[in-house]
Symmetry: C2
């Protein structure tokens, strides 16, 4: 489904260059559930944003279903992102002026059938219930706890029925019970056929994915036997 | 040192009232290391902000070293915050236009001896080393990973030699190794005499504090035997 070959990503700051990713090879098949682990600063968010077509690599090639992404025009990438990809950001990126309900329904503006939040009301309410935010549907982001904001971000990534969900630390601000709830939500979507790529610092959750990919200093490494990273 | 009696906090949204805290009694002695745990939305951040004099309760009384905080003028509270308290925010709140070094040194503008970052350069660099950010000192927040931003927030809370540190999920965005590093940093400050109040979703770290305070629906509860929450 997604193939990365020798992917590099450099950030240039004046004279200094940060090699965030240095030659990453990775294949993700349709229907996989992958966790990406590694120390803080090892390049997980950078890798996820490239996989989710939110950022372009500095070098290397990426193909999606056989098509080279580098050759695609921006408009085709945008269409991909909107219809096929759901993304949970590490910093949530909720819209301040909108309610929880409206934040979650935002991707529907771009949905396949063009239906807005009106026709999809039941589905949005059901997602809100699944992440445990029924009593916060009308709240704005600045009226939410850290974990509540995170759960809105998770619900928003699912509302458009994507084919693949990229989740950057979806439980980092959650207690054990809520982390379990969110993880099981991802598992149930996986059972329905979605591909899931989840960055996590939680070793237990990482171990419950189908496969663990370990990053260190911008490269994929094999974890030592018996240890995640 | 800090005494809370029947502390309540309500948020009013139009006709709706959210009872974030409902009658909290809590005593924190000088030199204690306390962890606050509880489900997402249970009121931990709200409680921490009241303890750290960043927010006023709706009802109840709070005393610090015998003095009733409600009677203090805003200027006295500001002085308290700047000289005695270090705070790690759940959402970091770093200043976008400033480097890591300058972000960490910000509280020094208000320090007891009035020394700025110039005289304190060695101390700031040492803190930067302790949180593992030596190669990121000149970066700006938008050039940092989630965990790197969190570590800047931790270092900033320590730079002013506070008497008490309030840390709201200081390891939520960190891998195991970095979480351990940050926790041991807090432990070493505790050994030197600082009081530490740490909100955490990490049961292992919570268990290594001197005492665990458990919140549920805005109230303090006793955890069932053998379980944190
Ligand atoms: N300005 C506000 N208006 C209305 N409700 C609010 C406001 N701020 C917070 N709340 C609500 O108060 C409750 C407690 O919030 P708080 O941030 O203290 O929770 P928390 O225990 O820190 O949660 P988390 O673990 O997710 O960070 C939450 O349910 C939240 O929705
Ligand atoms: N715009 C930028 N300019 C310079 N360096 C950057 C920029 N963005 C990220 N970096 C650096 O690239 C490295 C990788 O960042 P990334 O966000 O991918 O890490 P991460 O593995 O997600 O970390 P964490 O677990 O802390 O979230 C980090 O060391 C970071 O400082
Ligand atoms: Mg990251
Ligand atoms: Mg909180």
């Amino acid at each position: 489904m997604i193939q990365l070959k020798n992917i590099t990503k450099d950030y240039t700051r004046g004279a200094e260059k940060v090699h965030a990713l240095g030659g990453v090879d990775l294949s993700i098949d349709r229907g996989e559930f992958i966790s990406i682990v590694g120390p803080s600063g090892s390049g997980k968010t950078t890798l996820l944003h490239i996989l989710g077509c939110l950022d372009r690599p500095t070098g290397g090639t990426m193909t999606i279903d056989g098509q080279t992404v580098g050759d695609l025009p921006e408009s085709a990438l945008v269409r991909l992102r909107r219809k096929k990809i759901g993304f949970v950001f590490q910093q949530f990126h909720l819209i301040p002026g909108l309610s929880v309900f409206d934040n979650i329904s935002l991707p529907l503006l771009f949905s396949r059938n063009g239906n807005g939040k009106g026709e999809n009301r039941d589905r949005i309410m059901s997602l809100i219930g699944m992440v445990g935010l029924e009593r916060r549907a009308r709240h704005h982001p600045n009226q939410l706890s850290g974990g509540e904001m995170q759960r809105v971000a998770v619900a928003r990534a699912m509302v458009n029925d994507p084919e693949i969900i990229f989740a950057d630390e979806p439980t980092g601000n959650l207690d054990t019970a809520n982390s379990e709830k969110i993880f099981r939500l991802l598992e149930s979507l996986h059972t329905k056929g979605l591909s899931i790529v989840m960055v996590t610092h939680n070793p237990d959750l990482a171990g419950r994915a189908g496969r663990i990919v370990t990053l260190r200093d911008g490269r994929i490494v094999s974890p030592p036997a018996g240890r995640q990273y």
